[in-house]
């Protein structure tokens, strides 16, 4: 007999009804009381649940509003860039940072920081609010001024980075909290620790009746209620010697800072005017570092001596000071072999010049928000930030442009290899965007159709990008058109090489898959244990690294050439690869795995995680806990 039942058995047949337990509910009540209790339960239960939500919302306090009274409104916002032209028509680019606590002091030379900390006391320093203005001139000259925002207003605390530096105690009151036209105020104190210099200042505020003129002779718009301030500042050495007299008229406008200044310093005229809608021309791109990794490894180079670098910050006035700090994002390298990192708080971009035993801070910049990725393309240094922007700097550290993105950019933007200098970036929302190097304009944008994942690669006129739907897409570099799409799985590491004609990916389930660069066809693959920490195409070999194993495959027939121990970071191209492990760094020949040198890492350098980059012909490893190591290839 053939029986066919498609609708299933009656419900009662499937759900065995157990007799109710006496503990399942309260004993029966009178109908009226039961109704009343039901109403109460319906009122109380959801109301209390909602009240908990409201209470949690109310308990959640965001960081305090900025201090400084009414005068704080004249200051540019956190992360803003302002540009000006000095009396000689040269551009000045200034970045503005706001912060609370001692982190602002940590950016200052040691003497300045200790002096300010000593004057404020630890408790006040932890709560103090700061405005830091970092100024870069056209010739690369840099200076920083640190201002404190307090209920008393805006006061200049210290200046450093130039030929002269000052630490004002008490802080120099630039804009008192209740400042208005007609106000007058004065201050005096020391301008350097130990009373090496003293200062005396007088100020008066006025209302600018006529707009001042900018460098082109056009009136500077006085929007929102601007304020003029005349200042006379005299800094002198007690007992004679050094003396400087500054007379300055400044116009401050809300949200724009000082937009016009006319001053004399010891009788010499100086000053600046706001440069609106400025389009800066990038300083010339530096020449490439020599020798390169490839140059050296082809000559059978070996891993030379090296070790941990001492990090130094030089100040022309306050001198050199050793520093430390952690690295919060994967580093990048400029064309001329400087190291690009974000500081440990993730709010400043830093570029370091590396020598045999030291690393010296070349420049720092403040793009605004938290830096989530750094990169370098041509002459540009790039930072992707939590404000969903990509910010570009020229080799002098001047902010050239800032372009918005539709989501965070978690991986370093990559240079396009067609000579245009443009960059491509992958956003978390899955947009691949090509950005013009000159002005940050969007050349094209293509959606992957899934959230972006991991890093980008550029090879053979294509951009290779992976997404959270387990796909790798190849987009044409010229217009972003989709060329092919493959589905190897969720990609943890990706590399492409035009010479070998392959795209190599390591997936989160332990697979290493090779795709054809031209059509995306799967050429095969293998599996390896552990969590992928890197993959590179080195010559005709594909090198994949996990925390447990190193595997080298022939890019043509996928035969396993050799394998080795796993590691935390992998780098290299051509004839050799370097693996940075927990306890050492090893340079190996790509062809046969022959060891070309092994150097131990110091025992204390056991970091939570570690990144490695090739800086010229050197291996550089960075620990998240702050270690910076370098070994030259010889």
């Amino acid at each position: 007999m053939l029986t066919l039942v498609t609708t299933g058995a009656p419900e009662s047949a499937r759900v065995p009804e157990e007799p109710p337990s006496p503990r399942s509910g309260a004993p029966a009540l009178g109908a009226g009381r039961a109704r009343a209790l039901t109403v109460v339960a319906w009122l109380v239960t959801p109301t209390l649940a909602l009240a908990l939500g409201v209470a949690l919302e109310a308990a959640d306090r965001e960081p305090a509003e900025g201090l400084g009274g009414a005068s704080a409104r004249y200051l540019p916002a956190e992360g803003d860039r302002t540009t000006a032209l000095d009396a000689d028509g040269r551009s000045i680019v200034t970045e503005h940072a706001r912060s609370t606590g001692i982190e602002a002091l940590l950016t200052a030379p040691t003497l300045v920081a200790s002096s300010l900390l000593g004057a404020l006391g630890e408790e006040d320093a932890m709560r103090a609010q700061w405005w830091r203005a970092e100024r870069v001139e056209e010739d690369g000259a840099r200076s920083t001024s640190l201002h404190r925002l307090s209920p008393d207003g805006v006061a200049l605390a210290a200046v450093w980075g130039g030929e002269l530096g000052f630490v004002f105690e008490p802080h120099l009151p630039l804009l008192p909290a209740g400042v208005r036209p007609g106000s007058a105020w004065s201050a005096s104190g020391t301008a350097l620790p130990g009373e090496a210099l003293a200062y005396a200042a007088e100020f008066s505020a006025w209302s600018p009746a006529e707009p001042p003129l900018d460098a082109a002779g056009d009136p500077i718009p006085l929007t929102g209620g601007c304020l003029g301030v005349d200042a006379r500042l005299r800094i002198s050495q007690p007992g004679g010697g050094f003396e400087r007299q500054i007379d300055e008229s400044t116009v401050w406008c809300p949200g724009r800072g000082a937009v016009w200044s006319s001053a004399t310093v010891d009788g010499v005229a100086v000053g600046f005017t706001e440069q609106r809608q400025a389009r800066l021309v990038a300083a010339r791109a530096p020449s490439a570092a020599a020798p390169s990794w490839r140059d050296v490894v082809e000559q059978d180079a070996r891993l030379g001596v090296g070790g941990q670098l001492e990090r130094i910050v030089q100040d022309p006035f306050f001198g050199a000071a050793a520093t430390d700090g952690q690295y919060s994002v994967r580093p990048a390298v400029t064309a001329d072999g400087r190291l690009v990192v974000a500081n440990d708080r993730g709010d400043d971009l830093e570029v370091w010049s590396l020598a045999a035993t030291t690393a010296e801070l070349d420049l720092s910049a403040h793009p605004g928000g938290t830096i989530v990725a750094v990169g370098s393309a041509g002459g540009l240094v790039l930072a992707a930030t939590s404000l969903r922007r990509i910010v570009a700097y020229d080799p002098l550290g001047r902010r050239l442009w800032s372009t918005p993105t539709d989501e965070l950019v978690l991986a370093a933007p990559v240079a396009v290899d067609d000579g245009s200098g443009d960059v491509v970036a992958l956003t978390r929302a899955g947009s691949v965007v090509r950005i013009a190097a000159a002005d940050g304009g969007e050349v094209w944008r293509t959606s992957l159709g899934g959230d972006g994942r991991g890093e980008l690669a550029v090879a053979g006129g294509q951009v290779l990008a992976s997404d959270e739907r387990g796909r790798v897409s190849a987009l044409r570099l010229a217009d972003g058109a989709l060329q092919w799409r493959s589905e190897p799985g969720l990609v943890d590491a990706l590399a492409a090489d035009a010479e070998a004609g392959v795209v190599a990916v390591a997936t989160d389930d332990g697979a290493v898959v090779l795709l054809g660069l031209e059509r995306g066809e799967e050429r095969g693959g293998t599996r390896m244990p552990g969590i992928a920490t890197g993959i590179v195409v080195a010559g005709d070999a594909v090198v994949a690294l996990t925390d447990e194993r190193l595997l080298v495959l022939d890019a043509d027939d996928l035969a396993v050439r050799w394998s080795g121990e796993g590691g935390a970071a992998l780098l290299g191209e051509g004839e050799a690869v370097a693996v940075v492990g927990a306890a050492d760094v090893v340079l190996r020949s790509s062809a046969d795995g022959a060891e070309r040198g092994r150097r131990e890492l110091p025992a204390e350098a056991l970091a939570e995680s570690r990144a490695a980059v090739a800086v010229g012909a050197a291996v550089v490893a960075l620990d998240t806990d702050g270690g910076l190591h370098r070994w030259e290839l010889e």
Partner: protein, 613 residues
């Protein structure tokens, strides 16, 4: 009945079998709920769907909200404005669990109350006072201790009494007071220093207790396989319905004798077999051409896996001394088996959570660091690869043993499913434990299932035994072989919407589980009264989806805890076992039998009845 009507009826039947019937059977349903339980359920259900809405709308929410970002070895970015909502969802799950504990069996009550108490003390410990460097007794800590003592007192007072409507509001007030006091004080103290406390607190809470959502994630991973199997069965049933005349309906209803099947049914099944068979053959043949060749290294291990499962199937039937199970027998036991097996597979994570919470509480109260260091080392060991491998091997072996015991007791379906999960777990884990490169793959398994089904078709054809029932079974087998390779596509539409396939897989599992896995709440007993069952079900559902919402809002499903990885693990172990068990059931049904089958009627005989003609 016209062809169009038959097709319509078939489609209705398909959707009914696929979606309506499982939801009707397994949804949360008011079975004489006590007074006051409905409002609690309304809050829990509302919280669940709010979290689902947050997950689906996460990209939009991030677009509209400023992001708070922390960097380090990974980048964690969260929409600032919704952090209190995530905490609210987590706290609500804790309140549901603690209210459930008041009337649960003693051991469960102790475990739940201990966990919730640790969470409350952990929250209290967030109030470090004005000087974070010094250990001080703060209002947040004091309130948390008072709340914990009150919760314990409430448990003692209410254990032997019936559920009362005010229990949930009281527990909510207590836990809420502790949380709001600690978070409010910590957040104001941090704000003065320019620090934003909520992102730190939220990620700390999720990373500390998020691992408790792992069993739910593993169980959620089986949803796609379940849907694939049910869809296969329903599709074949619909096919037969489309070709079934009205007279047959009476047969289906069991009120008339069955006349011989109409020729068009057979023709349709032959056509379906040819189409599906051709599809599977073409796919296998074209795989290397389209650049997706079968991994040759996975074929051997897949044969071993299939062989082991076949052996198990035969052994269980032999032990039971009766006919093998049908697909329905297997499916019927899935909901009852998936979550307990998931709990067993992740059993080491619960002590890890308790250790992490205890260490943080001890640190906040200024306990010496040595015990904390030991506890952390133990936690690291428990969540390490070695412990995970050992647990999987033990669970795999125990499941195979349990399958034999169940078969001895004459149970049908449960032994096959439990045993299949055990075998898949063992075959997946043992080679890794021995560092052997011996991994099966879904693609290879699918190919073997297809080839096996085609071979069986050939044998039956040559023997002249390819009747209508076997045709239906073989179509089912071929579709199941496709399901083994392609089941991921079920979550794909959701993946397109969410932009992440991992997130889609977990969300689909959670939602499907919420809609269909509440069958256990329909029962009642002294140890687990109905309100306790309902509240536990809601607590588990709300907590899982809250942790997932955290990942979705971070636009990183692995933020906090990588639920995606655990869901995929559930799909790999439990989902594969389900599909292969279903395929085995179909093959077993298609093979000629020497003796009459034990069961006169198979409820779900769409893939073919368990009845020999």
């Amino acid at each position: 009945m016209t062809a169009l009507r038959r097709a319509g009826a078939a489609l209705t039947g398909f959707l009914g079998r696929l979606i309506v019937e499982p939801v009707r059977r397994g949804r949360l349903r008011d079975h004489a709920w006590p007074q006051g339980l409905r409002p609690v359920v309304a809050v829990g259900v509302g919280a669940f769907w709010l979290a689902v809405a947050l997950i689906v709308a996460a990209p939009l929410v991030r677009d509209l909200s400023p992001l708070t970002v922390s960097v380090g070895s990974t980048v964690l970015s969260l929409p600032r404005t919704l952090l209190p909502t995530i905490l609210w969802l987590v706290l609500l799950a804790a309140v549901l669990a603690q209210t459930a504990a008041l009337h649960a069996r003693l051991v469960v009550a102790i475990v739940l109350t201990s966990t919730v108490s640790l969470v409350v003390l952990f929250l209290g410990g967030l109030d470090l006072g004005a000087d974070a460097g010094a250990i001080t007794v703060t209002p947040g800590k004091v309130v948390s201790v008072v709340v914990v003592l009150t919760l314990v007192a409430l448990l003692v007072a209410r254990r032997r009494r019936a559920f009362a409507w005010w229990e949930f509001p009281v527990v909510l007030t207590l836990i809420g007071a502790a949380a709001v006091t600690a978070i409010g004080r910590s957040s104001s103290a941090s704000a003065a220093f320019g620090l934003d406390f909520a992102p730190v607190a939220t990620s700390l809470v999720i990373s500390s207790i998020g691992q408790l959502a792992v069993p739910a994630a593993i169980a959620a991973g089986v949803a796609v396989a379940e849907l694939a199997v049910v869809a296969t069965v329903a599709a074949v049933a619909a096919l037969r319905r489309a070709s079934t005349p009205a007279t047959q309906v009476a047969v289906e209803a069991g009120v008339a004798d069955a006349p011989p099947g109409p020729p068009r049914t057979r023709r349709l099944l032959v056509a379906a077999l040819l189409v599906v068979g051709a599809w599977r053959c073409l796919e296998l043949a074209l795989a290397p051409v389209v650049g997706e060749p079968l991994d040759a290294d996975a074929v051997g291990p897949s044969i071993v896996l299939l062989g082991a499962l076949g052996l198990l199937w035969w052994a269980l039937a032999a032990v039971r001394r009766s006919a093998t199970a049908s697909v329905d027998d297997v499916l019927d036991h899935l909901d009852g088996i998936a979550l307990p097996v998931a709990v067993a597979l992740s059993v080491t994570l619960a002590p890890v959570v308790l250790a992490l919470l205890s260490v943080q509480i001890a640190t906040a109260w200024g306990a010496p660091p040595e015990p904390s260091a030991l506890a952390l080392a133990a936690a690291e060991t428990l969540r390490g690869t070695v412990a995970l491998t050992a647990v999987r091997l033990a669970v795999g072996a125990a499941l195979v043993g349990a399958a034999v015991v169940l078969a001895r007791r004459g149970r049908r379906g449960a032994p096959e499913l439990v045993g299949a999960i055990g075998v898949v777990t063992l075959v997946s884990t043992a080679p890794r434990a021995l560092s052997l490169d011996f991994g099966w793959s879904s693609d290879a398994l699918a190919a073997l299932l297809a080839l096996g089904s085609l071979a069986l078709t050939g044998v039956l054809l040559l023997r002249g035994q390819l009747d209508e029932r076997r045709l239906a079974l073989l179509v089912s087998a071929l579709l199941l072989s496709a399901a083994a390779a392609w089941r991921d596509v079920i979550a794909d539409p959701l993946g397109v919407l969410l932009g992440a396939s991992g997130l889609a897989l977990v969300l689909l599992g959670f939602v499907w589980g919420f809609l269909t896995d509440a069958e256990g709440t329909h029962g009642d007993s002294a140890r687990y009264p109905r309100p306790t069952r309902v509240l536990l079900f809601l607590a588990n559902a709300v907590f899982g989806v809250a942790v997932l919402a955290f990942g979705a809002l971070a636009r990183d499903v692995s933020a906090g805890i990588d639920l995606d990885a655990f869901a995929r693990s559930g799909d790999e172990l439990l989902g594969t076992a389900l599909i292969v068990a279903a395929a085995m059931a179909v093959w077993a049904g298609a093979l000629p039998s020497r003796r009459p089958r034990a069961r006169p009627l198979g409820r779900l005989s769409a893939a073919g009845p368990s009845v020999e003609p």
